[in-house]
Symmetry: C2
Subunit: 144 residues, 2 copies
Amino acid sequence: MNVLNASHLQQRLHEASILPTLQRMAVASVLLGRPVHMTAEQVLDAARRQLPSLSRATVYAVLQLFVRSRLLKELPIDGASTVYDSNTEPHHHLYDIDTGAVADLSATQLQVLGVPEAVGGMQLVGVDVIVRVRGLVQDSVSMR
Amino acid sequence: MNVLNASHLQQRLHEASILPTLQRMAVASVLLGRPVHMTAEQVLDAARRQLPSLSRATVYAVLQLFVRSRLLKELPIDGASTVYDSNTEPHHHLYDIDTGAVADLSATQLQVLGVPEAVGGMQLVGVDVIVRVRGLVQDSVSMR
DNA sequence: TTCCATGCAAAGGGTTTGCACTCTC
DNA sequence: GAGAGTGCAAACCCTTTGCATGGAA
């Protein structure tokens, strides 16, 4: 993590009213620099290269904090473990059912028609689209 | 479970090359009679009303067997436990993020445009759309 | 000094597995 | 009898929690 990245990340945490501790900066540098899809365990492994003392419980706590602060999204891809996505733009996902690899589909590439906006006192929160494929090769997440 | 249902269910299992044991018939009668969304635990509870000796491990085994045989689908709704859907028609889902209630959206009600059919050796398996809402009241699943 | 953040270990929920018993073909 | 299906309990994985320590405002 270079100085430019560090200050940029620090600013993003500041904007989200998050105290930039060492642990949070380590997690942020793994996830928030570019759009990635990672499980908690992958985040832990990557962040420990930078901060070996980092504990699993702290990573889970930081991930939840980042989700609450809308720096990350949890992906509704079924499977053993939660996948965190640092792409905060509206978008959808390609999911390789064999390898667990995940790739983004922009909201302009793929559109959903007929979403019930607010029927009968019901409030729309969000729409997730998962396109399940075999043979996807990019951006591997290796979940299984 | 009346006799008509029983023979109908038995036929569905037969068509799927599944031996119609007592346990499998109990699970089938809970799930396969009409479109429902249920967790493994809910299936166990319901099936035990019919066959009290039914074990949890067997229910999980039968659910997996039914999914492999395409009698059921696992819903990609994130959350603690897997939800099984006995509606085998192409359709999508409304999901209440507060109550866990699930409702179907027919494929004609909601359409997805721009799905990449088969790019670069990649094979399309399926498309899941989850519309997350608050305040949905029908067809409660009470997951949380 | 008062919170908030962290780390460890243990607990928790959901699911799977090992193994012996039972049933079907 | 051979193979498949079942039940129990233990194991397993992912995640959360309790509690004591450490650091920031």
